[in-house]
Structures are given as C-alpha cells and as structure tokens.
C-alpha cells in the first residue's frame, strides 16, 4: 500500500510535467473504482462512463492544483462527487422525494443473483446523499474525515447520512438475509 502510494505520487509528478502516458497509468488504476462509484450513484451505465471520462479529464486539467499528492484519492472522488451531483440535479427536479424504503419480505433462500438485485434495490431506495455515504464508506473504504473532504460537509453530517442509510438498508437487507439463512 505504501509502495502503491509512492508510485501514484511519481505518476502524478510526471503527469504534472505533461507526461500523458503516466497519467494514463494513473487512470487505469482508478477508473474501475470511479466508474463503479458513479454507476451506483447515478445508476445509468452510459452516464457513469461519460462522467468517468469527464472526471479524469478534469482531474488532468487541474492536477497542478492538487497540493498534496497523498490526497489524490479523496481529491479524485471529490471531482467525481461534483460531476455526479451536477448530473443528478439536472435530471431530477429539486424537492422530488425518493422512494420510501419498504420492509423486505421474509422469503426463502436467495440465490446470489437475487441477493445482488435486493442490494441494488435497497441502495436505489436511498436518497442520493445516503447512497453516496454508503458507497464511500463500504465500497471505497474512506475514513469519515476523508468523506467530509470529498462531500465538503462536517463529519457529523457524514455520520448522520451513513447511519440513517444503514438503518434503512438493515430494514431491507437484514430480514431477507436472515430469512434466507433459515
């Protein structure tokens, strides 16, 4: 992990000097994470791919503004967050309510594909803010402080969004999982 960080730092330094190939290596390391984060946030593959390209283009154009190369991941996800919410705001009028979470029905054993569909459904029923908090913590492994930087909000807000999301997901996923195990 340490070596990886050093290598990323070297690549960032080279990319800052105009080495496009170095930046392409950096992109190849992060594109899958960024794409999946955006895909689960905007839920449209084409949009997620377009946004991913925009994110990496903006990151390249603003690479010299990155003060600390060690903060590249949080900085990159901050750009992705801005791009995603710009699209979400454009596609959805302000004030539109998200679908209320519903209690999962206790059912028999779930196949993996069914579990994935259930998880996707549960994530989709979260608000954008709540879903993003889950994506950054559970799927991307950021600390609360890093999430606060990415989302430009206090740590208390990050916790509130995540904990509320976990409550909602738990209502949907835990009974299903427990039912499936029985």
């Amino acid at each position: 992990m340490i070596f990886r960080e050093v290598e990323d730092r070297d690549l960032i330094a080279k990319a800052r000097r105009g080495h496009v190939e170095a930046y392409n290596v950096l992109v190849s390391r992060w594109e899958k994470r960024i794409f999946n984060y955006l895909l689960r946030l905007v839920r449209q593959r084409e949009d997620a791919l377009d946004l991913s390209q925009d994110v990496f283009l903006k990151a390249y154009q603003n690479l010299k503004k990155l003060d600390d190369p060690a903060k590249f991941p949080a900085w990159l996800f901050r750009i992705a967050h801005n791009e995603a919410f710009s699209l979400l705001r454009k596609n959805r009028p302000e004030g539109e309510m998200t679908v209320e979470p519903r209690m999962a029905e206790a059912s028999g054993g779930l196949f993996p594909i069914e579990m994935k569909l259930a998880v996707r459904g549960a994530l989709d029923r979260l608000s954008d803010d709540q879903r993003e908090a889950v994506l950054l913590k559970v799927y991307q492994g950021f600390k609360f402080e890093e999430m606060a930087e990415i989302l430009a909000c206090p740590v208390s807000t990050v916790k509130s969004r995540l904990y509320t999301a976990l409550d909602l997901l738990k209502q949907t996923l835990a009974p299903v999982k427990m039912g499936g195990a029985e």
Binding site: L39, L57, Y139, L162, L166, K177
Partner: protein, 184 residues
C-alpha cells in the same frame, strides 16, 4: 457502556479505535438486544459487500497532444534527476579545470625569493631616484648661488670702476689747478 446503536454502527464500519472496539465487544457479550442489532448490521454489511464491482465497459485513455506537450528544454528543466546530473557534471568539470589550471604544489621559497628580488629592485630604483633628485637639487642650488655671486661680483666691479673713474677725474682736476695757480 450503555446501549448505543451509533457505537454499533461505527464498530461495523470500522470507525472505532482498538480500545473502543473492546468496549463494544464486551458490552455486546452481555446485552442481548445489542447483540441482535449488531448481527443485523453485520448481515447488512455482508449483503452490501456481496455486490461486486463491475468492469468498466470501455477503458479511459488520453492521447498525447503535441500542442500541450512540454518542449524539450521544459522537460529537462522540470526533470529533477536530469538537472541533478547536469549540475553534478558541471561541478565536476569546474573542479577538474580548476585542478589543471593552477600548480599542484606551491613553492613558498621560490615565491619568497621572487618577492625579495622585486622588493630589492624597487628599493634600488627608489634609492637611485632619491640620489639623483638630491644631486639635481644640489646642482640647481649651486648654480643659483653661483649666479647670485656673479651678479654681486659684477655689481662690485661696476662700483669699483665708477669710483676709479671719479678719482681719476678728481686727480686730473687737481693737476690742472696746480699748473695754473702760482703764476699771478
């Protein structure tokens, strides 16, 4: 520790320290409701992580654009290792040139002799010049005194001649008077 659902959530998402982790685990062992809550949270997390990342359908890559590429001198200028090597080479060259340009061993005795010779030469020249100046000044003074003495001698000579002429005239006058007087 009292029952705290937020502490359990922080525990599940890995945002507790090692000591806090022990506190939560101790509490859960003795609290049925918190243990059940923790089980549900863990199941939720397991369900979430069962969702695997998808492969990106199209790789993202950027093509080098020559307009935005740095010029060769910018590449060298911004390259730390290259600049470092160039600086080291320049320094090494300067040291070598300096080493070849100056004598390897300093002969102090030779330098001392050379300095002494130069000082002696300059001293001799200064003495000669001082003697010459003194002689010239002495000659000038002598000539001036000689000239003054000559002028004074000529003036005395003129006075003597003038006096001689006066006495000769007086003598002639007495002779004429003696020849003419007793005849009356």
């Amino acid at each position: 520790m009292s029952c705290s659902i937020d502490d359990l959530k922080a525990y599940v998402v890995g945002e507790v320290s090692r000591s806090e982790r022990g506190v939560v685990e101790d509490h859960v062992r003795g609290c049925q409701s918190c243990r059940e809550e923790l089980d549900r949270l863990n199941l939720t997390r397991s369900a979430l992580t069962s969702l695997e990342d998808e492969e990106i359908p199209q790789r993202i890559a950027f093509v080098s654009d020559r307009v935005f590429e740095p010029r060769w001198w910018q590449t060298i200028w911004h390259s730390g290792p290259v600049m470092g090597f160039a600086s080291a080479a320049l320094l090494a060259g300067a040291v070598l040139i300096h080493g070849f340009a100056r004598p390897a061993v300093v002969d102090a005795a030779k330098i001392e002799r050379r300095v002494e010779a130069q000082v002696s030469t300059r001293l001799d020249a200064a003495v000669v010049k001082a003697v010459s100046d003194a002689q010239a000044k002495q000659s000038a003074d002598f000539a001036q005194v000689l000239k003054a003495t000559e002028l004074e001698r000529q003036a005395d000579l003129a006075n003597f001649q003038q006096a001689t002429e006066y006495y000769e005239k007086q003598l002639h006058r007495f002779e004429v008077a003696s020849n003419e007087g007793p005849a009356q």
